[in-house]
Amino acid sequence: MSDRRRVAPFVAIVLAVVLAGLFVVLLGADASSDETADTPLLDQPAPAAKGELGDGTSFDLSQRKGSWVVVNFFQSSCVPCKIEHPALVEFVDAESTRADGADFYTVVYDDDRESVEAFFEERGGDWPVVYDDDGSIAVAFGVAKVPETWIIDPDGVVRERIISTVTADFLRRELDRFRLAG
């Protein structure tokens, strides 16, 4: 038997092992296209988030423990944010009628105050707006694109991260699910 014939099976086995390894890696890759997104912060304490509210007072997320908190990252020039806004208004109105209604905050990231104020004046919504001028809150949450919405439980633990736009129904359903789960 020639050397080539002797070596060929070993080469084939090595190639098969490499291909099988790549196949396993591909199988393990997350190909989901759900609205919710994975984050290393899921089920972890929410990161420290301090900023300034539109009225000049300070905001500290850790002070909101005891309530469900929904944080929406936003820019006034972002088209999906404009599309999503009516749903947020509807959601906040509905939550305000509940005794255990969630606190809602918009975190403005890389935007100027005049544009944001004009946006809210035109489209409605009177919830607190946090100005994240240095982007530290966005980095702390790992937010690179807007809009993103995060749900934080009364213990200050991150329960969900939702990328792109949300609907009022979706947010309500998710919050009810978390409330029931306790």
Binding site: P40, G135, A144
Partner: protein
Amino acid sequence: MERTRRAAGRGRLIGWALLGAVVVALLTVGIVRDRGAESSQDRADDVARRIACPVCDGESVFESRNNSSEAIRAAIDERVNAGTQSDDQIISYIESRFGGQVLLVPRATGIDAVVWAVPAGALAVALAALVLTFRRWSAQPHLAPTDSDRELVASAMEDP
């Protein structure tokens, strides 16, 4: 004849030894050379070069002018200036927020280790194959013409 062959072999060995010494010396200089005192900005820039812009393709946050990259650079600057975290700790912090996909230099643990292991493995296999091939070549007998061979050639040359 034997002496000449031995001298040639010794010469080759010295050549390889010299080449090996030069490679080792260069690697040693490259690894241990003193880069001098590094300013906070240099350090922050080095860290920023190791983190990928989370919203662009193929750019580090050092190069990218994207808002997200600028925010990450600000976070790096803040931590470097505080002086309480090592480069790896700062990178781990960014990774803990944005995930492992922002690491431009993959970690040597977990599935990421494959990118280090595969080239090293391929190099080892290639070197082993070279060694085996050279050994097989050198194991082939050195045939020297016998007297009868010489006579045969001489008679062939004489024949018209």
